[in-house]
Amino acid sequence: MQPTFTWSGVAPALPEIYLAAAICVLLMVEVFFGERRRGLTGTLTLLAIAGGAALTLACAQVDARVTLFSGMYVADPLGTVLKLFAFLFLALALLYSRAYLEQRDILRGEFYVLALSALLGVFVLVSANSLLSVYIGVELLALSVYAMVAFDRTSGVAAESAMKYFVLGAIASGTLIYGMSMVYGLSGTLRLDDLAARLTEAPSLGLVLGLVFIVVAVGFKFGAVPFHMWLPDVYHGAPTAVTLFIATVPKIAYFALAFRLLAYGLGGLTGSWTQMLAVLAVLSLVVGTVIALAQTNIKRLLAYSAVANVGFLLLGFVAGTPTGYGAALYYMLAYVIVTLAGFGVVVVASRRGFEADELEHYKGFHARDPMLALSMMVVMFSTAGVPPFIGFWAKLRIIEALWETGHLWLVIIAAAASVVGLFYYLRVVKLMYFDAVPAGLPATEKRTGVRFALGLNALAVLALGVVPNPLLELCERLLG
C-alpha cells in the first residue's frame, strides 16, 4: 500500500498543525521584535488562540470518529470540545498572568511559546489513538511545563521546584513507557482502538503489571496520593502565573490521558484499574483534605485542595461506567473553571516583590478589594461543594455515579472528606471577610480588562451552578 497524503487525511488534524505553525511564527516574531515591543508576543498569542478556536470549531467532527496517520490520531467530538475548552482556559490564564509577568520582568515571548507548546502537548494527548502519541503528548506537555516552572531564572525556589518536578516527572515518564512496553509486548498493538478490541478476556499477569505502571504514571500526572509529592512543591515554588497555568490547562490533558488510555484503550481491564484508582482516589481524598488544614500558604492550600479534588475526579473513573466518565469530565471542567478564578485572584492580588501567597495576606481582603474577595469566596464555596455553585453539581454527579455502581463506602468517604474540607475553605472566607487588615499590604492590580474577565469567570462558577444543565448535558452526550 502506498501511503499518500490527501487533504481529507490531514484536515481533521488542522488544530494541531495550526498550533505548531503558530508556535514557529511567534518564535520568529519574538526574535525580531521581542526586544523592542515587549507585549507584542502576548497579544499575538491571544489572537492566535482566538484563531485556533475558530479553526477548531470550523473543522469540528460533529458526530463522527475519524482516525488519521495510520491510526495514531483520532478526531472525535470529545477531542473537539476538550480542545475548545483548552483554548478558552489558556486564554484566560494568559490574560490573568500578563501583569504579573510584566511586573517581574519576565514578560517574554518564550513564556507564551512554552504555553502554546504545552497546549500542543495537550492537543496531542486529547487526540491520541496510539500509545506512542499518548507518550509524545505527555512528554511535550511535561517538558514545556518544566521549563515554565523555572521561567523566573532569578528565583531559587522556582529552580528547585523545576528540578524536583523534572526528576520525579522523568521517573513517571519512565514508568509510563515501561508499562506501555509491557502492554504492547503482550498485545502486539500500539493502537488504542485495537487494544480495546483485543483485550477482552481475563487479563494475564503481565498485562496487569503493565497496567500497574501505567496507573502509577497516570496517578503521578494527576498528583494523586501517594504520587502527589511534586504537586505542592511545584505549585508553591513556581511563579504564580505559571502555577495558574499548571493547575488548569494540563488537567484537560490528564483527563484525556486517563480516559483514552485507561477507560478506552484498556477498557478490557476496567475491573483491574478501577480497583487501583479507588485506592489512589481514597488516599488522595483523605490525605489532601487533612493536609490542607495545616497549610499557611494559599498556593499550597490550593495544591492540597487539588489533590483532594483529584481524588474526587478519579472516583468518577472508579465507577467505570459512561455516567462515571461523564461525571469525571464535568468535574474536571468545573474544577478548572473554579481554579482559574482562584489562582486568578492570587495572581491579580500580587505585586512586584509581594506574592500575596500567604493566608496572612488575605486578612481583611474584603476591605482592600471587595471584588476580588467576592470572587475568592465564590471559589471557596464552590470548591467546598456548597450549592448552588458549580462544585456542588460536580460532586453530586460523581456521588450519584458511584451510587449506581454500588460503591457505598467510597460515597461515605467522599462525603466525610467534603465535611472536613469545609473547615479550611471557610477559614479562607473568614480571613477575608472578618479579620482586620494587616498593615503594609500593597494595593491590588486595577486593570479593568483583567478584572472584568475574572469577574465573568467567578460569575460563571455561580451561573453554571444555577443552570448546570447545558454543560452537564454536553459531558454526558460526549461520553454517554
Binding site: 499477569l205 509529592m229 471557610l426 444543565n469
Partner: protein, 964 residues
C-alpha cells in the same frame, strides 16, 4: 407562576439592596418591606385554591439527567409556612429599620436578610428533595453572613463559623440522606417520596438514612447534642436572632421532619432517635435557660427547649402529636420573636442585656414591659395565651405516647419538669428585667423606644392573645388546612379549645406553673447569683467542637511533619516505593515465572566484559558527585563496553556509531568540564553521622532492590514469546526493494528518512543554540585556575600558541605533527564510510563524526586560534548545506511523482567506469554527513572560545577571542 415569584422576589430584592448606597436606610427598609409583604400577599392570594385542598405546582426543567426539575409545590402546610416566613419577615424588617444604627452598613444586612428569606421560602416550597438541599445550604450560608454581620467582634466570627460548620455538615448529611431516599424510591420528587412510605420503612437502608436525616435536622434545629451553636449565634444583630434563630431557620429542621413525617414516621427507630433527641433538648435547654445571665442566652436556650418540645411531639408517632407540633411551631414563632424584639429594645435603650444589672425597667418603659410580660406568659404556658394551648396538647400527648411501662411515667415526668423550668426562666426573665427597684448603673438612660420598634413586637403579642383566647376562630382554619395537607385521610379528630374539662394535662399545666414559681422563688430568695447551670454546665458541646477543631488542625500539621518532606530524596523514595508496592501486589498473588524463550549461551569473556562495564558504571555513579573527570572517564569505559557488546552480537554498524559518538561526546564534555571546579569539597559536618550513614545505606539498598526488581521484570518479559516483531520486515525489505545491504542505514535513510530529517534538524538547532548561549558566556573568576601541571612547570603552556607559527613549540610539537598528518587520512576514511554506508557498516552519521573527531584533534593540539586562522570550513554553512541536501533528496521524489523522500535510483552507464548506481539516498546521507560535521564543529567552536575569552585580562597582547 405565583410560586416562582414568591421565591424569586426576595432574591431580586437582595440584588437590588446590595446595589443601594450604604446610607439609604429608608430605601432599603422600604424595599425589603415591600418584598416581604409582597410575598405574603402572593401567598394569601393562593388561599382559595389551598383551602379547597388543592396543591399548587410549578415545574421547570432544570437537570433532566439527574431527574431534577425546578419543582415548586405548595400545599396547605407549605402555605402556612410561607405565610409565617413572609409575615415574620415583614415585621422583622420594620423592626430592623429602627434597630440598626446609622453607622452600620445596611445594604449588606438587608441584602443577606432577603437572600435568607428567599432561601427559606425555597425550602418551604421545594417539591424536590435535591432542590430542598440546595436551599437548605443557602440558608446556612446566609445565616453565616448574618451572624458575622458585626465582623469586628471576635465572638461574632467564632459563632458564625461554628454555626456554618455545624449546619453545613448537617446539610451534607441531609444530602446523603436525600440521595438514599432517592435511590430507595427512584425519584427525588416529594410527591413520590410521600407516597412510598411503606417501601421506605421496609428498606434495608432505612436505618442508615434515618440516622443521617436525624443528624441533619438535629443540627439545623439546634437539638441535642448539636445545640451548642445556637447560643453562640446570638452574637448576631437582634433582628437576625428574632427572625432566623427563633422563628424560621431553626424551624427548617422540624419543618422537614413534619414534611417527611407521613413517609418516615411510625417505627421504633424513629421514636428513639427523634423523640429521644427532642426530650434531651427539651430538658437540657429549659434547665440551662434558667441559669443564664444574658437575656439573649436565656431565649436561645429556651428556643432549644421549645424546639425540643416540637421534635419530641414529632417523634411520638401519633397524628395528634403532629398537629400539636405544627401548632406549637406557629405559637413559638410568635411569642419568641416578640420576646427577642423586646430584648433588642432593652439592649438598644439601656446598652446592656445582663440580667444581673437590669432591674425595674417597667417604670421607664411600661409599654415594652407589658408586651414582654404577655409574651413571656405565653412562653411559660399561662392560660388564655397561645403557648398554653399547644403546651397542654403536648402534655396530653406525653401522657399517651409512653404507653403503660416505665416510659409512660418517664415521658410525662420529663415534660412536667421541663414545664417547671420553663415557667421559672420566663418568670426570671420578666421579674429581673422589669420589676424591682429601678436600675442605676446602666450605660444609657432607659426610655420608651420609637413606635417602629415597638409595633412589630406588639402585633405579635396581640397574635398571642387572640390565638390564646379564640383559637378556633383565628388559626383553626389554617391549622386544619396544614394538617390536612400533611395527613390527608389519616386526619384524626381534634379540637382547639381553651377548656377541655378537668384533665390530667390541665393538672400538669398548673403543677408546672406552681412548681416553676416555687423554683424561681427558692432560687431568688437564696440569692445565689444563678451563674452556672448546676450539673450540666460542664456538658458543653462548644468545648467538644473547639477541641475537635484544634485537634484536626494539629493532627494535620503533625501528619505533614512526619509523613512528608520537601526533600527530593525522600520524595523519590516514597514515589518509587509506592510504585514498587503497587507492582508487587499483583505479583504477590500470581508470581511471575520467567518465560521459556531460548536463552543465548553465556560466554565467560563476555561476562567479564560486562562485569567491567558494570563496575565502571557504578564507579561513575559514585564519583559523579565528587570527581567529575574520573566519572567521565568511567562513563567512557561504559560506552566502550556497550560498543563492544554491539560488535559481539554482530552489529558492527551500531558498534561503530556508538564508538564515534562516545569519542566526540567525551571530548565535548571535557571541554565543558574545564569551567567547573574539578573536585567538590564537602564541608557538611553531618555527612559522617550515624544517621546520615544509615540513610545512605537505606537509599543504596533500596536503589539496588528496585534495580534488581526492574531487571528481573524485564527479563521475565523478554523471555516470553512476544507479539509480532518489526525486525523481519526490515530484513526482508532492505535489499529489495530498498536496495541496501546495511539494514540499519537503510532504516535511517529510507524507511525512517522523515524521522532522520527531523532529527538532523534538531541537531542543527541544538548546535546553534549552544553557540548562541555560550557566545557571551564568561566563566566565573574562580574557575579560571591554571591547571596544576602547568602551575608546577611540568608542561608548558598557559599562553596560546602563536597562530602564525607553523608548528607549536614545546611539548605539543610532535602531537601536532601527527595530528595534522591524520587529518587528510581521516577525511578520506570518513568519505569512504559515507559512500559504502548503504551496503556495509558506515553511513553519513559515522562518517561525519569521524571527520569531526579529526577536527577536534586539531583544536586540542593546535589551539583554537591556530585552527581558526586556517579553517575554511564554516560550520553554519555546512549545517545549512546538509539540511538543504537532505531536503533536496526528499524533493527529488516529487519529480518522479512520488511522495516526499521516496528513494530514487539512477543507473548511469559511463564509459570506462562501468555502471554507476546513484540513489537519492546517497544525497540524503551526504546531508546527514555535512550536518553532523557542521554541528559538532559549531559546538566545538563555542566551547573552545571560552578558553580564549577568559585569560584576556592577563594577556593583553593576545588576539582578542571575541573578534573571531
Amino acid at each position: 407562576m405565583t410560586l416562582a415569584l414568591i421565591v424569586l422576589l426576595p432574591f431580586l430584592g437582595s440584588l437590588c439592596a446590595a446595589c443601594l448606597p450604604a446610607s439609604a436606610r429608608n430605601a432599603e427598609a422600604w424595599l425589603a418591606g415591600i418584598v416581604a409583604t409582597g410575598c405574603a400577599a402572593l401567598a394569601a392570594s393562593l388561599f382559595p385554591e389551598i383551602a379547597a385542598g388543592h396543591v399548587v405546582r410549578l415545574s421547570i426543567p432544570w437537570l433532566p439527567q439527574a431527574g431534577l426539575e425546578l419543582y415548586l409545590r405548595m400545599d396547605g402546610y407549605a402555605w402556612l409556612f410561607t405565610l409565617l416566613v413572609s409575615v415574620m419577615g415583614a415585621l422583622v424588617v420594620l423592626y430592623a429599620r429602627y434597630y440598626m444604627s446609622p453607622r452600620d452598613p445596611v445594604p449588606r444586612f438587608f441584602s443577606f436578610l432577603m437572600a435568607f428569606m428567599g432561601s427559606m421560602l425555597g425550602i418551604v416550597l421545594s417539591g424536590n428533595l435535591i432542590q430542598l438541599v440546595v436551599f437548605w445550604e443557602l440558608t446556612s450560608i446566609t445565616s453565616f453572613m448574618l451572624i458575622a454581620y458585626w465582623y469586628h467582634r471576635p465572638e461574632a466570627r467564632h459563632g458564625a463559623r461554628m454555626a456554618a460548620i455545624v449546619t453545613g455538615g448537617g446539610g451534607l448529611s441531609l444530602l446523603l440522606a436525600v440521595l438514599m431516599l432517592g435511590q430507595i424510591v427512584g425519584s427525588y420528587s416529594l410527591d413520590d417520596v410521600l407516597a412510598a412510605g411503606d417501601l421506605i420503612r421496609a428498606h434495608r437502608w432505612y436505618p442508615a438514612m434515618l440516622v443521617l436525616l436525624a443528624a441533619a435536622v438535629l443540627t439545623k434545629s439546634a437539638q441535642f447534642p448539636f445545640h451548642f451553636w445556637l447560643p453562640h449565634a446570638m452574637a448576631a444583630p437582634t433582628p437576625v436572632s428574632a427572625y432566623l434563630h427563633s422563628a424560621t431557620m431553626v424551624k427548617a429542621g422540624v419543618f422537614l421532619l413534619a414534611r417527611l413525617w407521613p413517609a418516615l414516621a411510625g417505627t421504633e427507630l424513629w421514636f428513639w432517635l427523634i423523640c429521644g433527641g427532642g426530650a434531651a433538648s427539651l430538658l437540657l435547654g429549659a434547665a440551662s435557660a434558667t441559669f443564664q445571665r444574658d437575656m439573649k442566652a436565656v431565649l436561645a436556650y429556651s428556643t432549644v427547649s421549645h424546639l425540643g418540645l416540637i421534635t419530641m411531639l414529632l417523634g411520638m408517632n401519633s397524628e395528634l402529636a403532629l398537629i400539636a407540633a405544627v401548632f406549637h411551631m406557629m405559637n413559638h414563632a410568635t411569642f419568641k420573636a416578640s420576646l427577642f424584639m423586646a430584648t433588642g429594645i432593652v439592649d438598644h435603650e439601656t446598652g446592656t442585656r445582663d440580667l444581673s444589672r437590669l432591674s425595674g425597667l417597667r417604670h421607664a418603659m411600661p409599654l415594652t414591659a407589658t408586651v414582654a410580660f404577655v409574651a413571656a406568659g405565653a412562653m411559660a404556658g399561662v392560660p388564655l395565651l397561645n403557648g398554653f394551648l399547644s403546651k397542654e396538647m403536648f402534655f396530653t400527648e406525653s401522657l399517651q405516647a409512653g404507653g403503660t411501662g416505665g416510659l409512660g411515667i418517664a415521658l410525662p415526668a420529663l415534660a412536667g419538669l421541663a414545664g417547671v423550668f420553663s415557667v421559672a426562666y420566663s418568670l426570671r426573665f420578666i421579674h429581673q428585667v422589669f420589676f424591682g427597684p429601678p436600675a442605676t448603673a446602666l450605660p444609657r438612660t432607659p426610655r420608651e423606644p420609637t413606635r417602629g420598634m415597638l409595633l412589630p413586637s406588639a402585633l405579635l403579642v396581640l397574635g398571642c392573645l387572640l390565638i390564646g383566647m379564640l383559637p378556633e376562630r383565628t388559626v383553626g382554619g389554617a391549622l386544619a388546612i396544614a394538617a390536612h395537607a400533611l395527613l390527608g385521610d389519616r386526619l384524626p379528630d381534634y379540637r382547639l379549645a381553651i377548656w377541655h374539662g378537668f384533665t390530667a394535662s390541665l393538672l400538669m399545666s398548673f403543677v408546672a406553673l406552681a412548681g416553676g414559681t416555687a423554683l424561681y422563688v427558692v432560687l431568688y430568695v437564696r440569692g445565689r447569683a444563678l451563674r452556672r447551670t448546676p450539673l450540666i454546665s460542664r456538658l458543653s458541646g462548644k468545648r467538644g467542637f473547639d477541641v475537635l477543631n484544634v485537634t484536626i488542625f494539629r493532627g494535620a500539621r503533625r501528619f505533614v511533619r512526619t509523613a512528608f518532606s520537601q526533600r527530593l530524596q525522600v520524595q523519590l523514595l516514597l514515589i518509587v516505593g509506592a510504585a514498587a508496592v503497587a507492582a508487587l501486589l499483583p505479583l504477590w498473588r500470581g508470581g511471575l515465572a520467567f518465560g521459556d524463550a531460548p536463552l543465548t549461551p553465556l560466554d565467560p569473556t563476555f561476562a567479564m566484559l560486562w562485569l567491567a562495564g558494570a563496575i565502571c558504571a557504578v564507579g561513575a555513579a559514585v564519583q559523579a558527585k565528587f570527581h567529575r573527570l574520573m566519572a567521565l572517564i568511567m562513563v567512557g569505559c561504559v560506552g566502550l563496553v556497550t560498543s563492544l557488546t554491539f560488535a559481539w552480537f554482530s552489529a558492527p554498524d551500531l558498534a561503530l556509531t556508538q564508538l564515534t559518538v562516545e569519542v566526540i561526546t567525551t571530548v565535548l564534555i571535557l571541554l565543558g568540564l574545564r569551567w567547573l571546579p574539578r573536585r567538590i569539597q564537602f564541608q557538611e559536618p553531618l555527612r559522617h553521622t550515624l544517621r546520615a550513614r544509615l540513610r545512605r545505606s537505606r537509599d543504596a539498598a533500596f536503589a539496588i532492590a528496585i534495580g534488581v526488581g526492574m531487571a528481573a521484570l524485564a527479563f521475565a518479559m523478554l523471555t516470553r514469546p512476544g507479539a509480532s516483531r518489526l525486525g523481519p520486515f526490515f530484513l526482508q525489505n532492505a535489499l529489495e526493494p530498498a536496495g541496501g545491504r546495511n539494514v540499519v542505514n537503510v532504516i535511517l535513510v529510507d524507511f525512517r528518512a522523515f524521522d532522520t530529517l527531523g532529527e538532523i534538524t534538531v541537531v542543527g538547532i541544538v548546535a546553534l543554540v549552544v553557540y548562541a548561549l555560550l557566545r557571551r558566556f564568561r566563566p566565573a573568576a574562580e574557575s579560571i585556575d591554571v591547571p596544576r601541571a602547568q602551575r608546577e612547570g611540568l608542561i608548558g603552556g598557559g599562553a596560546h600558541a602563536d597562530p602564525r607559527a607553523l608548528l607549536p613549540e614545546g611539548d605539543l610539537k610532535i602531537p601536532a605533527v601527527l595530528g595534522r598528518l591524520l587529518l587528510p587520512l581521516a577525511a578520506l576514511v570518513s568519505v569512504y564510510f559515507l559512500l559504502r554506508g548503504h551496503d556495509a557498516p558506515g553511513g553519513g552519521f559515522v562518517g561525519g563524526l569521524i571527520l569531526a573527531t579529526a577536527m577536534i584533534v586539531q583544536y586540542m593540539v593546535g589551539g583554537a586560534l591556530w585552527v581558526e586562522s586556517r579553517l575554511r570550513i564554516h560550520p553554519q554553512v555546512w549545517i545549512a548545506l546538509g539540511l538543504l541536501a537532505a531536503v533536496a533528496a526528499g524533493l527529488a521524489a516529487w519529480f518522479a511523482a512520488r511522495p516526499f523522500l521516496t528513494a530514487q535510483v539512477l543507473e548511469l552507464h559511463a564509459p570506462l567506469i562501468g555502471t554507476v548506481h546513484l540513489s537519492s539516498v546517497l544525497l540524503f546521507d551526504l546531508g546527514v554527513y555535512l550536518l553532523v560535521v557542521g554541528a559538532a564543529l559549531l559546538m566545538l567552536v563555542a566551547l573552545a572560545h571560552q578558553s580564549l575569552r577568559s585569560p584576556r585580562r592577563e594577556l593583553p597582547g593576545a588576539v582578542d577571542g571575541a573578534a573571531l
